[in-house]
């Protein structure tokens, strides 16, 4: 059940044992990453396009606050002004070239420069997601290994029960329950990302500490619910590896217990896990908006939800998704390189 073979087709490109080969490998992966990014941006841009009502319509409707009738001519004029009358591919191309330069244009509804509007928000979201990811694997790795190897049914079952509970409790429920308890018994709603005094303050150590004081809850909630999937992966991989002959051989040589698990099957099982980290990040980011909505976190996730659900702000939504995709693709690229460096088998396949 290994996902080992996944990267194989791309890894057969190398020739001689040479640093040059490695560089070529890295360059190929980088090109692949960019192609994926472009592909995803096309998918996303198309999806945005499919949503009924374009930016001009929505903006005029939004601004049409006191019921004065807007005419079709007004909408056409606004459309021309925003360049929405150009062909689809032209718009996508110009949007994409802007996006690679970090210029996402203006938000459709708020009429604010998106780069400015997002500011630190995307980074905060990303760090929350990465924090959750770390937490999830910090739980899943030991529990998964124990669960696959241990003969103690009670320990095994109870550890799994707790980990899977994170999956069974939908995170919006979990978030609200934690808030309710905290409000009623401790008088603290645990909402927001910053205390009011730091909300508009420039970054400082104190502001960072304040952020950590608020961010632990979303990290905990997202991390717990991500644990279940991570645990299933770890458990499956470990089960596969433990049954293999080299483990038996190592055991025959007298290596046993934790040392055996960590040095052999766990190290091998780590490969596919590292490889899929990017997609785990995506999965966590998908859950972030809901948690953010409840905890009133003003970061990119809730902004995305608002842009999509409330104001149909395609420009803003597109920018956030592009950034997220870029983050995932970068992470995938980094893990590929990392694997090639640390895993002799992969290295060998490149430098063959």
């Amino acid at each position: 059940m290994t996902e080992w073979g996944v990267r194989a087709p791309f890894q057969l490109l190398a020739g001689n044992k040479d640093m040059l080969q490695f560089a070529r490998f890295a360059a190929t992966r980088a090109v692949m990453a960019v192609v994926t990014l472009v592909l995803v941006s096309l998918i996303v841009f198309t999806l945005m396009e499919l949503v009924p009502g374009d930016c001009a319509e929505r903006y005029l409707a939004y601004k049409n606050t006191q019921g004065s009738a807007i005419t079709l001519a007004d909408i056409e004029a606004e459309r021309a002004r925003l360049g929405l009358d150009r062909p689809f591919l032209t718009r996508w191309a110009s949007w994409l070239s802007g996006a690679f330069r970090g210029d996402f244009g203006e938000s459709c509804i708020l009429r604010v420069n998106i780069a400015q509007l997002l500011g630190d928000k995307f980074w905060i979201s990303l760090w929350i997601c990465l924090g959750s990811l770390t937490l999830a694997y910090m739980i899943a790795l030991p529990v998964g290994i124990i669960s696959a190897a241990s003969k103690n049914a009670f320990l095994n079952n109870s550890l799994r029960l707790i980990s899977y509970l994170g999956l069974a409790m939908p995170n919006f429920l979990l978030a609200l329950m934690v808030m309710l308890f905290s409000t009623i018994y401790f008088g603290e709603t645990l909402t927001g990302l910053f205390s009011p005094e730091y909300r508009e303050a420039p970054w400082s150590w104190a502001k960072f500490v304040d952020l950590l004081k608020h961010a632990w809850l979303p990290i905990f909630i997202l991390g717990w619910s991500a644990t279940a999937f991570a645990l299933q992966t770890v458990r499956a991989l470990m089960s596969d590896e433990i049954g293999k002959l080299y483990v038996t051989a190592a055991a025959a040589r007298g290596i046993y217990g934790r040392r055996l698990l960590w040095r052999y099957p766990a190290r091998h099982a780590l490969g596919p896990i590292v490889n899929s980290l990017g997609f785990d990040l995506n999965r966590i980011f998908n859950e972030l908006p809901i948690v953010a909505l409840i905890l009133t976190l003003t970061e990119a996730g809730s902004l995305l939800l608002e842009a999509l659900a409330r104001s149909n702000d395609q420009q803003l939504a597109g920018a956030i998704i592009f950034l997220l995709t870029a983050a995932i693709v970068t992470l995938n690229f980094a893990t590929d390189i990392l694997l090639a460096v640390i895993d002799p088998r992969v290295r060998k396949s490149i430098l063959r």
Partner: protein
């Protein structure tokens, strides 16, 4: 796991059975030995049955049409056999009068009339329904001779939470099954093609798969949901949402299928079939797929709770099913209120069902995975 205390002859018989058993029998034999998985499987079967027969098992229509207008936000009523006036074989409830006002903070205050009994009846005729969606009926397992009985209490409109829960389990099972089946079919086709042909086709498909996995699903849902015409009925909308869940869920599974195929296709028996001139479709269907059916079943069971969970998340952001519809996602949303946490604890009963359902699937999935792994026996 458990020590065997049988005679030699029995042992011999068992061995014989073991070596002649089919793969399915072997998996079942190994599965049976896992206590946690067996418990989970029992829970799962009970839940599936109660969902399947929800219209019959539940006493009332789960929509506002079946509401009890005299028992809004009412606590669960447990029928009893005895009271101060003596005992009865037939379980009964006491008549309750309720009122509320500003003085009671708008909470219902109940007065129980211990002298008036309402008796429980079985196989009563009541709200009409369609079992499995097409068998019409109006017989319910139980009911009262007068008034209503609410085992799990009622919500603020007076809808019976017991009835709602059973119907919700059914809805969620449907969502899960449909979603899993759709993504499964897609995964088989896409993963099958990639894995069987390999090479350039595989590379291209892998790239697309990776791209799809990279697209965040929320905007995908939003875009598709915007297309759902508002005049569609709750059922149609529900079907489309399941479809979406399936359409989004395939890449992980497709990747697994592909990996299996990549390893299997180089085996000798495949080569033999190819040499005999079997077409690609035939080889995939008749030779390759059966080789890892067990893995696929495990994957299906494991992806099930994720589909059910996605439905609850969709409901929450306003794209999924909404309150008049009975799904576990909708019921879950109704408990996210301070008022419920403090005062209406019985709203949480459906949550327990939801957790039980998800946990049962996950544990059965784990159990099946271990059972399907031929080495698990030797290890434990």
């Amino acid at each position: 796991m458990s020590a065997k205390t049988s005679t030699k002859i029995d042992d011999q018989k068992a061995k014989e059975a073991y070596f002649t058993a089919s793969q399915r029998q072997l998996i079942w034999a190994r599965f049976k030995k896992q206590r946690a998985a067996m418990i989970a499987a029992t829970v799962l079967v009970v839940l599936i049955l109660s969902g399947l027969f929800a219209p019959f098992l539940s006493p009332y229509d789960p929509t506002v049409a079946g509401r009890d207008k005299d028992y809004l936000n009412g606590a669960p009523q447990i029928p009893k056999f005895c009271d101060k006036n003596g005992c009865s074989i037939r379980p009964f409830l006491h008549t309750v009068t309720r009122e509320r006002s500003l003085a009671t903070n708008f909470r219902w205050v109940e007065k129980i009339n211990e002298d008036e009994r309402r008796y429980m009846q079985f196989f009563v005729s009541g709200d009409s329904y369609k079992l499995f969606g097409f068998i019409p009926g109006n017989i319910h397992l139980f009911g009262m001779d007068q008034g209503y009985v609410h085992l799990f209490g009622t919500d603020s409109a007076g809808k019976d939470i017991f009835s709602r829960t059973l119907h919700a389990v059914w809805t969620s099972l449907q969502v899960g099954t449909l979603g899993v089946v759709i993504s499964f079919v897609l995964a088989l086709i896409i993963g099958g093609v990639a894995g069987y042909y390999g090479g350039a086709i595989d590379s291209v498909i892998q790239m697309i798969t990776d791209a799809v996995r990279t697209v965040p699903s929320i905007p995908l849902f939003m875009a598709i949901a915007a297309f759902i015409p508002p005049e569609w009925s709750a059922e149609t909308r529900f079907f489309v949402i399941t479809l979406i869940l399936g359409l989004v869920g395939w890449p992980t599974l497709a990747r697994r299928v592909r990996t299996h195929l990549l390893t299997e296709r180089n085996q000798e028996y495949v080569l033999a079939a190819q040499l005999c001139g079997a077409p690609a479709g035939h080889v995939i269907r008749r030779h390759l797929l059966p080789s890892f059916t067990s893995y696929i079943i495990v994957d299906l069971v494991i992806s099930f709770p994720y589909v059910v969970l996605s439905e609850t998340a969709l409901s929450f952001i306003g794209l999924g099913l909404k309150d008049p519809v009975n799904s576990l996602g909708v019921m879950l949303q109704n408990v996210t209120k301070a008022d419920v946490l403090l005062n209406y604890h019985w709203y949480f009963i459906p949550v327990l069902f939801f957790i039980a359902l998800v946990m049962a699937f996950v544990f059965v999935g784990d159990g099946l995975r271990d059972a399907a792994d031929p080495y698990s026996e030797t290890r434990k």
